[in-house]
């Protein structure tokens, strides 16, 4: 799979710092599966994270923010030191009790980043599963809302030749292509590609090819589909 469209650097940095909403985080994780270039970028942002840990007090004085945490003097031992030293001295089974039981004794717990991938998405990542419970939104467009903590993630299945003016008037919109393709002002998006838009970008994607386009869409402001969508959706004639 050759990937040509990537999340913005700003999005990748926030993925690395753990500050994306879950919907966006899951979508970026899907792209990273296919994109070594972006994995390298995330790796760099994580290195910066490590450097920031080392430089916290300096950064706090640079940013001049009231909200910045006033660090304690870093030479003063951390308050939990004695408790931690005891933990280390204790027997292994006791040490295990502190670690959340949900993490069990998995060898990779904490070392590997995991995401809560909603089941329909998991099935689509494994294969183009036609048996998913798609809900028809308007003729030619079906969707499945996915369960995430911010409720901003959905799968969309769009018939060939549809023009979709998906205007988010507020907020960000990330789209990850799973199957099929579409074109907009920014180019042609194919499986593995991500379109990373904020409110300032207006685009009018048109699904091309003969197959439906299945994509994952993350938004942080509601898409106002009800009512006005049918008016906006115009089957693209001539393709």
């Amino acid at each position: 799979m050759s990937v040509n469209h990537h999340p913005d650097d700003a999005t990748l940095l926030s993925y690395a710092s753990g500050s994306l909403l879950e919907s966006f985080e899951i979508l970026v994780a899907c792209h990273l599966r296919f994109c070594q270039q972006c994995r390298l970028r995330v790796d760099q942002a994580e290195q910066l994270g490590g450097a920031m840990l080392e430089s916290a007090e300096m950064l706090e004085s640079t940013v001049m923010l009231e909200s910045a945490v006033t660090s304690e003097n870093k030479s003063i031992p951390f308050a939990g030191r004695a408790a931690f030293a005891e933990l280390l001295d204790d027997d292994e089974p006791l040490v295990d009790m502190l670690v959340d039981s949900a993490q069990k004794r998995d060898d990779t717990a904490g070392l590997v980043r995991t995401h809560r991938i909603p089941e329909p998405l998991q099935r689509l990542l494994e294969s183009n599963d036609a048996t998913l419970a798609w809900k028809r939104l308007v003729p030619g467009i079906q969707q499945i809302r996915l369960d995430t903590e911010d409720d901003g993630l959905r799968l969309m299945k769009i018939a060939p030749g549809m023009s979709i003016p998906l205007h988010t008037h507020k907020g960000s919109e990330l789209t990850f292509i799973l199957y099929g393709s579409y074109s907009d002002e920014l180019g042609r998006l194919q499986p593995g590609d991500v379109s990373d838009l904020d409110a300032e970008v207006e685009h009018q994607p048109i699904t091309d090819g003969k197959e439906p386009c299945i994509c994952l869409v993350a938004t942080d402001a509601p898409l106002k589909f009800h009512g006005f969508l049918p008016k906006l959706l115009q089957p693209f004639i001539g393709f």
């Binding site: 690395a16 753990g18 994995r39 942002a45 430089s55 300096m58 923010l65 910045a68 003097n73 670690v99």
Partner: protein, 192 residues
């Protein structure tokens, strides 16, 4: 207040990165608790300061510090200094712990949730093996204030671009371009 301490700390930054990498490798081979406590004394306060910013909860921050430091101790055998600086490794583990905690907390009621790993099977890739903290510090100091602020809010307050836009009363597009520019400047300092 602690300016002097900070100044005292400066001269050896480059060495200090190597120092902690070696320290963690020593812990991995010897499993020596006293050596690990040196590592702990250096990183636990820093980790706590960071986690306090992202969780805004002193008790939780301390709990996550202990959990992270315990994981680092127990998994130290898997640390490889040719792949990542000790602080990068620590940052990743702490971030994973924090995000997992966040997700578990809010989705606990949803029975159908599953934590699934989406990392590819192929070996992990690594952009740079080491960085030089002194150079990164210089690069941060040279950032325009707004760029330093958005970076701070991304890493130390765990805020999304939209939340930063609301906080700073900026258009979302400006926040994204500030984060992007700052990232591009800072990542140039990472050695390939």
């Amino acid at each position: 207040m602690n300016t002097e301490m900070t100044m005292d700390y400066e001269p050896d930054q480059k060495d200090s990165i190597q120092h902690w990498n070696r320290c963690l490798e020593a812990v991995a081979t010897t499993k020596d608790k006293a050596t690990y406590m040196l590592f702990y004394d250096h990183f636990a306060p820093r980790l706590n300061s960071w986690l306090l910013g992202v969780t805004k909860d002193a008790e939780l921050a301390e709990e996550l510090v202990q959990e992270t430091m315990l994981t680092v101790w127990r998994k130290s055998g898997q640390y490889d200094s040719s792949k990542a600086a000790a602080s990068t490794w620590l940052f990743r583990i702490a971030r994973n712990m924090h995000v997992d905690h966040l997700r578990r907390l809010k989705v606990r009621a949803r029975a159908d949730s599953m934590m699934l790993d989406v990392e590819p099977d192929e070996p992990e890739v690594h952009g740079g093996m080491h960085y030089d903290t002194a150079r990164i510090r210089d690069a941060i100091k040279q950032l325009p204030v707004q760029q330093a602020q958005v970076i701070y809010k991304s890493y130390f307050e765990g805020k999304s671009h939209q939340e930063i836009a609301n906080d700073m009363d900026l258009p979302l597009g400006s926040v994204k371009s500030s984060v992007r520019l700052a990232f591009q400047k800072l990542s140039k300092v990472l050695r390939p």
